[in-house]
């Protein structure tokens, strides 16, 4: 296990980093009992407010809290400005890439990215070929996962361009911190994030079909048993738009309508939180009860906007990830401001060889998977697990990429024995429409098990409030 993790709060034993000094001195004045009470209060409030998520594989209706940690993750403002510039650049390039691969495919023709991982990708949707979307924006909402490694540098781990979630926790965590510790906000200049729903609504309205002046925007959810249902309901409410399920919508006369108590009503923009596969049973999975029959026809005709667009998965797939820096150079003529994690594409014979030789030091990821499933963390794996993955790599190398095990940065976190360092990541949300907009910070996830690098909520991760301060 690498042990030289970057500690966000302490530069060395007993030496607090400048941007944590206020917090540290505040914390030293709080009694353990008070902090325990406040943590219990947070749990109680989250449960009463119903900020819960369902876990797949457990019986329907089982609800769990995502553990919330009261020690904030603080990012100094100048550092954030650099991150923000890098994120804007990256998402801009990803949108240009999506437009390109569904039109001319210039980046492939120029030889910057091989054709196979693009056009042979299961996430590539041929139905989108030649379709023009408003403002040429595909990934309206991007949740880019960023980690800080041992040297203190930031790396992009993953671009989530399909239906990234977590922003409601970012907002609720802030609300909770302000409720629990109002005095903390008086002595720290924390950049606000509460206007996110406003930015999102503005963004969605800006990509309405051409000629629609006052668009009706809805949020399409798979329903209340989906793990992110709280977020769907929360965002719809915060934006004041209808939260619809597939069965509330229907297609008629080349338009999408929702069933209301006063008859059918036209829908212009659908912020969909359903995967491509389930959107239209006529085109994609025919067994989907979540989607709307005929939606794709209306969409292709430009009479309704989907956010995110169909087919964005080809740009955030792990097999495409290694090429994002090339995209930035190709489309923008700029050097990438944010670094990628060095990645070995097992489809290349020598990179596969390296991976097999160094398996115990590497993280191996399956290319089409998300959510921390189907991955191997070499340093933590048993001999049997390593052998198993070695076999899988050899029989289907195209399906994997490998990366060095990053010593993710840590942040002090409350655990049973008190405060202890735990690994964290960061998911800022980037909104693209007429402009690109973001709120400062994002969602910080924390791996609560000692030494664990997996921050996903489905696998026991928690969250923290994220401050851009100073």
């Amino acid at each position: 296990m690498p042990n030289a993790s970057f500690n966000e709060m302490y530069a060395a034993e007993g030496h607090v980093r400048a941007h944590y000094r206020e917090f540290d001195s505040w914390l030293s004045r709080q009694s353990d009992d008070l902090m325990r009470l406040k943590r219990a209060e947070a749990d109680l409030v989250f449960r009463r407010v119903g900020i819960t998520f369902a876990v797949y594989g457990e019986s329907a209706g089982t609800e769990r809290l995502i553990p919330f940690d009261v020690v904030p993750r603080i990012i100094p403002a100048p550092e954030w400005r650099q991150l923000e510039a890098g994120l804007r650049q990256r998402v801009k390039a990803l949108n240009l890439f999506l437009r390109d691969v569904y039109h001319e495919g210039e980046i492939v023709r120029a030889g910057r990215i091989p054709a196979e991982p693009v056009f042979g990708n299961s996430q590539y949707r041929p139905q989108m070929k030649g379709v023009d979307v408003p403002g040429h924006i595909y990934a309206h909402i991007a949740g880019v996962d960023i980690v800080r490694a041992d040297g203190g540098g930031y790396y992009v781990l993953e671009d989530n361009l399909r239906v990234p979630s977590g922003v409601s926790y970012m907002l609720e965590n802030r609300r909770m911190m302000m409720r629990l510790f109002p005095d903390l906000f008086a002595c720290n200049r924390v950049a606000p994030v509460e206007h996110y729903p406003d930015l999102l609504l503005e963004n969605l309205r800006s990509v309405a079909p051409v000629g629609v002046d006052d668009p009706t925007v809805v949020l399409l959810t798979p329903g209340m048993y989906n793990s992110a249902y709280f977020e769907h309901a929360f965002l719809a409410q915060q934006m004041g738009i209808e939260l619809v399920e597939g069965k509330d919508l229907f297609v008629q006369d080349a338009g999408v309508y929702m069933r209301t108590t006063r008859g059918p009503m036209r829908v212009d923009v659908i912020y969909r939180r359903i995967d491509d596969d389930f959107l239209d049973p006529k085109v994609f999975r025919s067994d989907s009860a979540l989607g709307v029959t005929g939606l794709l026809d209306v969409y292709r005709a430009g009479r309704v906007t989907l956010a995110n667009a169909i087919g964005t998965g080809v740009a955030d797939d792990k097999s495409i990830y290694p090429y994002v820096p090339d995209m930035i150079e190709f489309y923008l003529g700029e050097k990438p401001l944010l670094a990628n994690v060095p990645t070995y594409k097992c489809r290349n014979r020598d990179e596969l060889g390296y991976t097999l030789e160094n398996l115990a030091q590497l993280v191996v990821k399956e290319v089409h998977n998300a959510g921390g499933y189907g991955m191997l963390i070499g340093p933590c794996a048993t001999r049997a697990e390593l052998d198993d993955f070695r076999g899988r790599l050899k029989s289907n190398p195209d399906n994997y990429i490998a990366q060095p095990t990053l010593a993710l940065s840590t942040c002090p976190t409350y655990v049973e024995s008190g405060l202890a360092p735990r690994h964290i990541d960061l998911r800022p949300f980037v909104l693209s429409g007429q402009d690109i907009s973001m709120v400062p910070g994002g969602l910080t996830r924390v791996a609560l098990r000692e030494g664990s690098l997996v921050v996903n909520s489905s696998q026991g991760g928690g969250t923290k409030d994220t401050w851009v301060a100073g």
Binding site: R47, A233, A236, Q237, L243, V244, M258, R259, T261, R262
Partner: protein, 320 residues
Amino acid sequence: MLSRTADHLFWMARYVERAENTARMLDVNVTTSLLPISGEASERGWRAMLGISELEPSFDARHAALTGRDVIDFMVRDPDNRSSIYCCLQAARENARAVRGALTTEAWETHNDTWLQLQQHLKGQLLERDPHEFFEWVKFRSHLSRGVTIGTMLRDEALCFIRLGTFLERADNTARILDVKFHGVAPTNGARRAVRETTEEPYLDFYYWAAVLRSVSAFEIYRKVYRDVVTPARVAELLVLRGDLPRSMLASITEVCTNLEQVRNQQSDETLRRAGLLCAELQYGRIDDILDTGLHVFLTSFLLRVNDLGRRISQDFLVP
């Protein structure tokens, strides 16, 4: 608004109201069962309790004998009895959760918190220790959810569908409470007798009708309105025809009409007409005429018409 949203709101309100009325009826039965009555009479009371909710068959299917304890458990905490308070509050909360965005934060949290507290109470044996306290709790959670709804929600369609649910359910439940005397008694006793004639123990009859009044929070109101002894005919008049008693059938149907009027759409005219007709009949009806046709007959027909309204509201607005 979305039809599905309206449907969830409507049922959310109905389930809360149903839970409240079940608590009211159980509370009254617990009190009357403390009177010096025969075991047979007591059993009749509990059986009537099941009868008004049409639950005798499903209760008998699972219980060999009938005791008050069993009926209370069945009506309060049985997860397999869809009319139990447990199931009603769960369904109310699930409906609220499905449309939490259409509720104010306070309204949603009230429903969610009710559900969480219910589980605590059932685990903590509150029902066994102090049934009255438990039933009061159910009533007050219902008061609270109504109050939060009215006190925080925008006066729009969403509120109308919530109110429709509340009052349609209340009209139904009040009619059933009044009809309870006809359950568990032999049919030969006849409808008129039950209301107009006293039984062999007249003072017990007083307690019975007083309990009916209390179950709809109308005992003190009865005294205020009539300044006289409790007679079954007047109790019936108060619960059926008085527009100023908030839980009466007339008051409930009036609210149904008002709210229907506000959400009317192209197909709802016939529903509105039927609701209006029912309302007018109550408004201009006389208790003597009702008793002449027979209260039980009257109530049975009333329940059918309320059911018809519910079905039509669904058709017109909720599941088009």
